[in-house]
């Protein structure tokens, strides 16, 4: 075994990726099935001069994560369902004040405390719209332990590059299973750090309307004095209720992600080119789907898989193209129908969209997907 090959849990790999991406602060309130994220952070961060803090609750841990980032550290918090709900208000604050941070949500059965040890994918919509008001957000979802590592790196890179919170949407299956991982050489990783101001300290505009729509960010405490508020604000960061300014701000916030969509969006396809039926799945379920595609192909059925790795913004353009080619789409997800709404919105009447939803605490199996494929075939 090469010395960079390990058997590792998804949660462990996520923290090793985060630290390699430069994470130096983690504030959390451990909750199953995300607990190992806090545990490994507590164990590993001190070794690299980083800080781990267990806060009194999820609300405070989100706040501490934002504060540490404002002071210049790459920061993360991690939680699951009920904790993710509690983090929403401060997550919105980070969106509004454009403070980079990574929030890991390891999905378990819900609603409420639900099924604490069982997998689900019930936060597709909450990860997009959980905090109030129009706001930008990036959500990415890994399907393997290797991806848990790589997506942690990607989550930090995107958050730093676009001055935005990024939600790393995991599920209990990927979080807890142990799998082979090959840790890449650190020098081969692209690491992105936030853009810093280059102007004189008295000329700094923390929310400057720059050409790329991403204002440079100074660390609190390094001499740039600026105001940070969740209230609608102008380029100086001070509150403003002026409608023209409010409109300008919300448009810049949303366009900041929209304009860079191509750089942000990542997806994976398997045998879609000639597919008549395309499965759409993410996270652990995408593995069941891939297994079903192989089984279906061995029976001569033209089935493929489209796997969004970036959930939000959704890879709309490519799915739309596929909608012109395939007859049927089956969205398999561990909830009662969330991602399917986005797929329906994009596909419209180009093809027929079907849901295979399941929310009983068990992963969707390849056999269940095969049954659905047969059902759809019978429709013609």
């Amino acid at each position: 075994m090469k010395n960079n090959v390990f058997l590792m849990q998804g949660n462990e790999a996520c923290i090793y990726g985060a630290i390699d991406a430069g994470m130096r602060f983690f504030a959390g309130y451990p909750i199953t099935p995300s607990t190992e994220l806090a545990e490994v952070s507590a164990q590993e961060l001190p070794k690299v001069g980083g800080k781990f803090i267990q806060m009194e609750d999820e609300i405070a841990s989100m706040a501490a994560t934002i504060g540490a980032s404002l002071a210049g550290l790459k920061s993360m918090t991690a939680t699951s369902g009920p904790g993710f709900s509690l983090k929403q208000e401060n997550l919105g604050f980070a969106c509004m004040t454009e403070i980079p941070c990574v929030v890991v949500n390891v999905q378990r059965g819900g609603p409420s405390t639900g099924l604490p040890t069982a997998p689900a994918q019930g936060e597709v919509m909450q990860s997009r719209w959980g905090t109030h008001g129009d706001h930008p957000i990036i959500v990415i979802s890994p399907s393997s332990v290797m991806e848990a590592y790589m997506f942690a790196v990607k989550a930090f890179n995107l958050s730093e590059k676009y001055r935005t919170p990024v939600v790393l949407l995991m599920d209990e299956v990927v979080a807890h299973m142990r799998e082979k991982i090959e840790i890449p050489d650190k020098s081969s990783l692209e690491i992105i750090n936030r853009k810093k101001p280059v102007v004189d300290k008295d000329k700094y505009l923390p929310y400057e309307d720059t050409e790329d729509l991403i204002p440079p960010m100074a660390n609190f405490g390094e001499g740039y004095r600026f105001h940070v508020t969740g209230l609608t604000h102008d380029e100086t960061g001070f509150p403003s209720t002026n409608p023209a300014n409010a409109s300008k701000q919300i448009n810049r916030l949303l366009n900041k992600i929209e304009m860079h969509k191509e750089d942000i969006i990542e997806f994976d396809e398997y045998l879609t080119e000639d597919a008549e039926i395309i499965l759409v799945s993410f996270g652990a379920v995408a593995r069941s789907a891939k297994s079903a595609v192989k089984e279906a192909r061995s029976q001569g059925k033209k089935v493929g898989l489209f796997r969004p790795m970036t959930i939000w913004p959704f890879p709309e353009e490519r799915l739309k193209e596929l909608g012109k080619k395939a007859k049927h789409f089956i969205v398999a997800e561990m909830n009662m129908g969330q991602l399917v709404l986005e797929v329906e919105r994009i596909i419209k009447s180009d093809a027929v969209v079907h849901l295979l939803g399941k929310a009983n605490g068990e992963i969707i199996t390849p056999d269940e997907i095969m049954d659905k494929i047969k059902e759809v075939e019978n429709i013609g």
Partner: protein, 174 residues
């Protein structure tokens, strides 16, 4: 192409999960792919406990065990609970105290794992490693040396010699 689904079972506290981790890690050292998963939560404490491992030469898509090729059971309760979905013609490796009727649907190996652990080694905590030795001698899934390495990687410091002795003893039981 090799693709084996394995279910290891016993009672909570016997180190069944560590056994799964060691087996999966050794398989990876061997150059194969492996996934280990476990039942998780309060239901795993006391009573029947299980760990699942998939070992494959190729890519492993679906990460859970569906129909095990091999079932290892250290207790009667675990055997009764987990025998139900064994693949037809699969392998059962059970402690010799486990009462098994109707064994014509699978290949049965009964090995004195618990008595060797408790009466000869007198160290109940290494039952999992004794079992691992017997398991691999029967299934030959992983290179023995890789398993020794994986054991040394994962067992607590100060227990290395005991665990290697337990492993060798397990091999000797078959």
């Amino acid at each position: 192409m090799k693709y084996k689904e394995i279910r290891l079972s016993g009672s909570g506290g016997q180190g069944i999960i560590l056994m799964g981790i060691i087996l999966a890690e050794a398989a990876i050292m061997n150059g194969d792919n492996a996934i280990q998963s476990q039942s998780y939560g309060p239901e795993a404490r006391g009573g029947a406990s299980r760990a699942e491992v998939i070992i494959s030469e190729g890519e492993i898509d679906f990460p859970k065990v569906r129909k095990p090729d091999i079932l290892l059971s250290l207790t009667q309760e675990a055997f009764n609970k987990y025998i139900v979905d064994l693949k037809d013609g699969g392998i059962v490796i059970a402690d010799d105290k486990v009462k098994i009727e109707d064994s014509d649907k699978f290949q049965l190996y009964q090995v004195p794992i618990m008595s060797t652990t408790n009466d000869v080694l007198k160290k109940p905590m290494v039952a999992n490693i004794v079992a691992l030795g017997a398991f691999n001698k029967i299934t030959k899934l992983v290179d023995e040396e890789m398993l020794r390495k994986a054991i040394l990687n994962r067992v607590p410091k100060g227990t290395e010699d005991l665990n290697i002795k337990a492993f060798n003893m397990g091999i000797g039981l078959v």
